[in-house]
Point group: C2
Chain length 120, copies 2
């Protein structure tokens, strides 16, 4: 596969340890449940936590860019942002956003298993 | 699903525009082909590019942590690192690593589609 038609947003934080990592996953899971998961085309939010306890990536997958745009246009972004801010303030440790620019993504290439490429 | 048994490494760069973004995907794809994709348990490298042209995430998936450890222990890490350094030096634009700490991850939680949670 060289391209998929899904559309992603990636939420990316550094945290000060495994406890905060767990808390961040818990509060962002609740954000998905209360604010996101019921919109058409929502497929998943997958929480990737680093084995050293210092980072969390939440990768949210939509069926298409149109579904994501519909979510942005019709959802209560201000309410959601307030909920996220409150959730972050309620953490016992520190979490720092590492996003830069617009947090929307497409997957343009996938390299699957295969033989070693050895041409010069 | 609340947990999967796969093991991930996440390679994360900011870049100075869509051209560099494309180049970075091309050179890291070649790194996968020449140095990684033939090890047991390798499943995929998926290149997520931001729609604003400024960021690239490469999410590499292994069947298990043991497979990843075997790759690290038995592969030519020094050769691979040299190849990556040369690839980055050959870009026409700028790319800056955004990794922090150990770049290995597990997925600890997935929130699928469902009804809006409305409890207090």
């Amino acid at each position: 596969m060289d391209r998929d038609s899904a559309f992603y947003s990636i939420i990316d934080y550094t945290v000060d340890g495994p406890g905060t990592q767990q808390e961040l996953v818990a509060v962002f899971s609740e954000i998905q449940e209360r604010w996101v998961r019921f919109y058409p085309g929502y497929q998943s939010a997958r929480f990737h936590v680093s084995t050293d306890g210092t980072r969390v990536y939440n990768i949210v997958r939509w069926a298409s860019e149109a579904d994501y745009r519909n979510f942005v246009d019709t959802s209560d972004s201000e309410g959601r942002m307030t909920a996220i801010r409150k959730a972050l303030e309620g953490l016992s440790g520190k979490a720092e956003a590492r996003m830069s620019g617009v947090p929307t993504y497409t997957v343009v290439r996938e390299i699957g298993p295969g033989p070693q490429r050895v041409d010069a």
